[in-house]
Symmetry: C2
Subunit: 418 residues, 2 copies
DNA sequence: GCTATTTGTTCAGTGGTTGAATTATTTGAC
DNA sequence: GTCAAATAATTCAACCACTGAACAAATAGC
């Protein structure tokens, strides 16, 4: 056999590999293996899976246990004959991630531990459109402080925080535009600098990452499904429509972090004008306002977060205008998704946010457009399914992004002072 | 400063780092550094850039020189006072990549050395639509043998080959569908197995990779521009329209390698029916047939590879129908590109293949649609430019993909027997 | 209780990097 | 022309982390 098909991936280690990097890399490898294992693995199992020797794995695990990243499970997993294994699990009393979210009609905070368990979750409903950014952030700091106190009561140490915002965020944490909140050029880090820090700083882990909610919601989905797909498109249908793209288990953020603006993909290029300046954007056909209007509902009547529930109720009751509105929205969404799948060759699309509840009615038209328009659909069907977390995906994903970072690169945490 | 914005990138080393991996990784690091340097760097400069010690770099370079991957440049670069540096360059007499291409009306072969120089290039024009896949591949083998002989005459050793095909290729090298060639389910490796091998096998380097031409053309563009962008969309306008997506210097292939089917993104969802089964696909408005028809030309009159030249000539002569046809095609292309940029947040779009010649007329309408429809365009403008390599991008990119792989992971080549 | 079996640890050995000292080679000043 | 300063590259003992084999620990089955 002299032929062989292979992937073209020239991703070399960009950075030099020094003496100590060896241990640093293996800390990440072993920790990642423990995180990915379906059951608590023994040191021997980790050694077999990674190709390291048992001696090395033992040494690495000692470091991880000393750093409160890994613990031994009780009771030990039964294995049959031989000395019983001691199962390794991610520590439930080590570092944790703080997830925060500001949205149109609620604030939320949550804490996720290394193992991915949600250990704290608060949602405070309030219409934030009339509230100034500074005041909104001040309220959020209160939620964060309560979350931190609760986490510490459970023996957890918050190692970093991530804030989900429904808008465009630049690399410095400046919210360039969050139309539904009415924010424009809001410097989140500056506004928070007057408050006590959300978490004690840990080297190598950003104290606060500000990120688009749709991106974090996609990560949340990855986090929720233990053996789900590692590459998918997550579409969040809210007032606007955002998408997060997950490729090989990592969020794809684009050159400046502004990927996923699926709401402004043209689906009717000469159609309805959009406030973005374009015409026929998806948002004008499948966004909350458009669907409510088509269903004959007045959006002033109901808060934004109940719109999806209301639509689902009406659809369930076979309300004709609602059914038609969802069919039209689904078709527009399907046109956009077909383009995305043609471009990126993804095999899974997750409907999240407000769309999660509406999946039963959106899925058929989306699938119809996709199977008609995607060139490769005949060789490999595209799965369209509902989000597991729904509207909570963004906060959970935010907190999860912190712990994912620790698992991927535990050196910062291990080298912390104290 | 307790806040800090960071990228979310949990890409840990999936594989264990063993004792010997240290040297293997540093071979790649040092080689990559030499490849990326604008001028031949000294050992000391490589040490400074990578963080390794001079001692280590010297040892690593010795291995690379012994393996014919690196040489010392003559004359030595002048540096000022002190012992003169010995400049390190990628070897011009070591391994090389063989690039092959089958297209509608030509076969091509080329050889690219480690430094990226094209050392051999042949194009044989012939209408391949009436030729059976087996015969076409047999002719290609002839071209490849000539290329190999020429390469060896120059002291080069072919380490691997890549074949560009205008169609969908699966992981086994099976061409599922190449509509313009009339190919369907053509098992390229099987058909080649009766011929002598294209290259002597090298461990770790696939003897033959079969890949979509648009993907390889995108890589070729990356290869041509020394300090161009590392993330961009490369659109190849031929009979069909394909795109290659390069992210951080690596080709994004999608889950099954079928990414980039931009030709079937819906731009007029209820518009002209497409042979893919959909309606209003970009290809029906900006593909070669559509543009020729709109310009009032009969495509039977001229071979496919001269269509772009002909259109450019007419446009230059201010032929009204041609101008209008290109404006319409550019608008359709702009609608599709706007969707892509909204989704992926890319800042550069390269017009390649037949579009390269037509850029002066396509660029304005594309830019107009993009700036109108891309949400983030006001903060960071999108560059639309012409391909540097034009129609040769795919073969060059194919050959370049082989050498890129060697530079990224030189271990296979170094461990070869002989 | 004995054996087979598997887990986890210990320890000398080794590969590869480190850092300082050394050699090599040039420029520029006196 | 000679010497000092500067930079490049090599040499070598030390050290760090992984390796492999031997060994101790703990259990199931007979």
């Amino acid at each position: 056999m002299w032929q062989c098909q292979g992937v073209i991936r020239p991703a070399a280690p960009a950075t030099a590999v020094r003496q100590g990097s060896l241990r640093e890399l293996n800390l990440a490898v072993v920790l990642g293996r423990i995180a990915a294992a379906p059951r608590p693995p023994s040191r021997a199992a980790v050694a077999a899976a990674t190709g390291l020797t048992r001696a090395t794995v033992s040494a690495v695990v000692d470091d991880l246990v000393a750093g409160r990243l890994v613990g031994e499970s009780e009771p030990a997993p039964r294995t049959g004959a031989g000395r019983p294994a001691r199962g390794l699990v991610l520590a439930g009393d080590g570092p944790a991630g703080l997830g925060l979210e500001i949205n149109v009609d609620y604030l939320a905070a949550c804490v996720v531990d290394l193992a991915g368990e949600v250990r704290h979750h608060t949602v405070r409903r309030a219409d934030l459109r009339p509230v100034s950014p500074a005041d909104a952030l001040a309220r959020l700091v209160g939620l964060a402080a309560a979350a931190r106190a609760d986490a510490e009561r459970q023996g957890l140490t918050l190692a970093g925080a991530a804030l989900a915002v429904p808008g465009l965020v630049d690399a410095a944490g400046l919210v360039r535009l969050a139309p539904n909140l009415g924010w424009r050029d809001v410097p989140v880090p500056d506004l928070l600098s007057g408050h006590p820090p959300l978490v004690e700083p840990v080297p190598g882990i950003p104290a606060l990452v500000v990120e688009n909610e749709a991106n974090l919601a996609a990560l949340g989905e990855l986090h929720a499904g233990p053996d789900g797909p590692v590459s998918f498109l997550h579409v969040s249908g809210e007032v606007g429509i955002g998408a997060g793209i997950v490729l090989d288990g990592a969020l794809f953020r684009g050159v400046r972090g502004w990927s996923g603006e699926i709401g402004h993909i043209p689906v009717r290029p000469d159609g309805r004008p959009c406030r973005c300046g374009g015409r026929g954007c998806l948002e004008r056909y499948a966004g909350q306002e458009a669907v409510l209007a088509a269903a004959g509902l007045d959006r002033a009547d109901l808060p934004a977060d109940t719109a999806a529930t209301r639509l689902a109720d009406l659809a369930l009751a076979e309300h004709p205008a609602t059914r038609a509105a969802l069919a039209e929205a689904g078709q527009a969404l399907g046109i956009a998704v077909a383009g995305v799948v043609n471009l990126l060759d993804l095999d899974t699309v997750v409907l999240g946010g407000g769309y999660a509840l509406l999946t039963p009615w959106l899925r058929p038209p989306v699938l119809a457009e996709v199977s008609r328009r995607v060139l490769t659909a005949k060789w490999s069907p595209v799965t369209v399914r509902s989000s597991a977390l729904g509207p909570e995906a963004a906060v959970v994903g935010a907190a999860g992004s912190v712990v994912r970072r620790i698992v991927a690169d535990p050196v910062g945490w291990l080298n912390r002072t104290g």
